[in-house]
């Protein structure tokens, strides 16, 4: 019976099409739909990060006081407002009780060379200027519709990190 079936060539094209559909087309469509969800969420994350940069840039004194309750609240409020209009829920990665960090640089004034990097306020040399950057990390967790083809974890964790100079 089996050798008789093997010897037959009828409907071989249909079988080939079924194989192509199952192993190529369906995973392709599933992968595309996952990809769309992931890159659109990443675009929203990057935009949220830009909004935080702009907040820090426009309110440098407020942003540098990153341990202040009002700074924490304002930065959280910006994210909550974005979330209210977005398809994805973004979170500011906490830094203990706060939601941003500062990085300090001592820059040699004459050359513009960054001499040292600090995580707390430094005492720069006389020929150096202090620069301060505010750093944020935003995260989002998205549910991908078909995690199998791309072997993605589900929910899939995304993040964007960056800093802006405020002084």
């Amino acid at each position: 019976m089996l050798s008789w079936l093997r010897a037959r060539a009828r409907a071989s094209a249909s079988v080939e099409f079924a194989l192509v559909a199952v192993f190529v087309l369906l995973p392709l469509i599933a992968g595309v739909s996952d990809f769309v969800v992931v890159i659109s969420a990443q675009a929203q994350l990057n935009t949220a990060l830009q909004a935080l940069y702009y907040f820090a840039y426009a309110n440098p004194t407020q942003a540098v006081a990153y341990t202040s309750a009002s700074t924490v609240a304002y930065q959280s409020y910006i994210i909550s407002q974005i979330n209210a209009s977005s398809d994805y829920q973004i979170a500011l990665k906490p830094n203990g009780s706060y939601n941003s960090t500062l990085t300090y640089y001592c820059v040699t004034t004459s050359t513009g060379t960054i001499s040292s990097v600090y995580t707390s306020p430094p005492t720069c040399a006389g020929n150096q200027t202090e620069q301060i950057y505010v750093n944020y990390t935003v995260t989002a967790s998205v549910t991908v519709p078909f995690p199998g083809p791309l072997k993605l974890s589900n929910p899939y964790a995304l993040s964007a990190t960056g800093g802006v100079q405020v002084q």
């Binding site: 060539a9 071989s12 094209a13 080939e16 099409f17 192509v20 559909a21 190529v24 087309l25 392709l28 469509i29 595309v32 990809f35 769309v36 890159i39 659109s40 675009a43 929203q44 990057n46 935009t47 949220a48 830009q50 909004a51 702009y54 907040f55 426009a58 309110n59 407020q62 009002s70 609240a73 304002y74 959280s76 409020y77 910006i78 407002q81 974005i82 209210a84 209009s85 977005s86 398809d87």
Partner: protein, 182 residues
């Protein structure tokens, strides 16, 4: 099967039977079936590229037009002593300047498939809750129904990007320095 096809297309049964047994052009038939997958693959690559391109333009358009509106509000205060906020149609103009093309220009209609802008200003100058930043801020969201090439009758994918921008210098303003448009 042969009977129903023969009846439908008025083809002699003998001809259909001969066709079913024929092995000529089998490779062409198989290619036609595989070509379906090949074309789908090419369209998928093309559409993913376009999607990334248009999504990037959408995000850039939202960020740039929101910043433009925020800075514009600050400029009106510097020039006139009263902060005036841009209307949604003005912000739509900023958006179209930077994002169309590659995106279709936003027309203001929510039914023609062009990007739909939703802009709302919040006036917290001189007041506001403790959890909200003082000053004037704009919440701008743009949604766009993206349609894949080669699938004109598909449902499309709604892309949405939102941002929040504080008008620079508005944090210390008193309520009387803010115009009604904010």
């Amino acid at each position: 099967m042969c009977n129903s096809l023969a009846a439908l297309y008025r083809v002699p049964r003998a001809t259909l039977h001969a066709l079913a047994l024929a092995r000529r052009a089998g490779a062409a038939v198989e290619f036609a079936l595989c070509a379906f997958a090949l074309v789908a693959f090419i369209l998928a690559i093309l559409n993913l590229g376009l999607l990334g391109f248009e999504l990037g333009a959408l995000a850039h358009g939202v960020q740039t037009s929101a910043r433009h509106a925020g800075v514009d509000a600050a400029a009106t205060y510097a020039n006139t002593g009263t902060m005036t906020c841009d209307s949604t149609s003005t912000i739509r103009g900023y958006f179209n300047n930077v994002a169309a093309p590659p995106l279709e220009a936003s027309s203001g209609s929510s039914t023609d498939g062009s990007p739909v802008l939703t802009a709302s200003w919040t006036n917290n100058a001189g007041s506001g809750a403790a959890s909200e930043p003082p000053g004037i801020y704009l919440n701008l969201a743009v949604s766009y129904k993206w349609q894949a090439i080669g699938f004109p009758f598909g449902p499309g994918i709604t892309l949405k990007i939102a941002t929040v921008i504080l008008a620079p210098g508005s944090a210390g303003l008193s309520g009387s320095a803010v115009g009604g448009s904010c």
